[in-house]
Amino acid sequence: MLEISNLTHTYGSGPGSHHALGGVDLSVAEGELVCIVGPSGCGKSTLLRSVAGLLRPGGGEVLFNGAPVAGTPKDLAVVFQDYSRSLFPWMSVADNVSLPLRRKGLDRPRREEAALEALTQVGLEEAGAKYPWQLSGGMQQRVAIARALAYRPALLLMDEPFGSVDAQTREDLEDLTLRVRGHHAMTILLITHDIDESVYVGDRVVVLSGAPATVVGDLRVDLPEPREQIATREHPGFVRLRAEVGRLVRGPRPAAQHPTPETV
């Protein structure tokens, strides 16, 4: 579905330049939910923007369904990290959610229906007529998620999508992501800084190093399905994986006597 090979990118040039991606290799199979974790500022959003075709990477290749990404691929939706700025303040919440559906050729009632359904999924069925700026940050984030879900993309890119919601809502949204993926055969690339979350929702957890980012770990999550917030998190496999990812994210810094686990 998605083949990323030797992706590099440098922002700017000369002394002020920043080498963000240092050769990222990653392949994602159809229907997989891959979580990407890595230290802050390492280049996670840069990677995602290259996949979405919003940024032309300096080098390397992104293949989406076998074709190189040039411009934004069809059938792709993004939940941006800066969710509040990605909503249009001049449109109601329902219009924000249903706007992309025009491209799918749905007529107005069907668009409204799909928007209401997606808003209901994120618990905002009452907010459709409001404007984004009338909602709290966490609610705006859920609108951005609803917009992506309503679109039913083949590939869903989410950049720290649950960053500013409370713990309870966060768990609900994690479970919603898992449900939606099951129903609509979506492939999902989810960026998070929360290691527990990456292990809980992911089929795979990909760990990036600090800048310039490369893949330092790619762990398959073999936990019993369906995932359940309490049971999964106390599963011995979960605890082990969480520790593993944690060590990879922290990098080969402190304990020089321990060999750093490169592969699993």
Partner: protein
Amino acid sequence: MNPAKPPSKRPGWLWPVPVALAGWELATRAAGDLSFPPPTTIFSRMREMWLSGPADRLWLTDAALTDIPASVGRLLAGWALAGLVGTTLGIALGRSPLLSRFLGPLVHFARAVPPPLLLPFFMALFAIGARMQINVILFGVVWPILINSAEGARHVDPLHLETAAAFGLSRGQRLLRVVLPSALPKVFAGLRLSLSLALILMVISELVGSVDGIGFQLLDAQRSYDLPGVWGTIVLLGLLGCAFNAAFLAAERRILSWHRAANQTT
């Protein structure tokens, strides 16, 4: 949610008007200069000119029913056309660096030409009449709208454009639903500037090339040494300007409510 209104928005803000009128009345009566008639004389002349008609026409006189609508119609026609042309071209200029580079200097030159200088040119081009006046207004007031729209279209939030691109909005949808609304606050700033400019150009164009309208009436009064009439026409123009501005602000408040509110909360 509703912070204290600025002093000028409170209902009591009209009190300086009667005070000024009283002062004006006293000063002009004391001076007794025929060129400066007291306001009471001006107002009674205004009533005579525009509000002394038959009751079944709401007391409007022939002059009120022909001159004022003729002027206002030309003003609004020129201004609306300028709005259409200015917004369209401005957004094209704002979105296309190439177009902006080629046409930008031309626009700034055209804007720098004082609009009344267009008159001789348009009088030569068109016969005297509505067509010439509407064109003068159009070409005189289009620039602030064009330049402001271009500015607004240039500074669309990049993340809004990326969102539009990521969700595959078509070119038309991107323009109509993302770029235009983003630029709208700026477009309105330009439209407002242009509206007051349009009033000025309306009068000037009627002073030199017209057989009806408020400007023509002003000229007529001046030629017949009807000074209260001259003053009355000036007062009428002032009132018209205030009315247009108030109507415009009301429309802007409605259409850009999201803009004011969104900027208050963030």
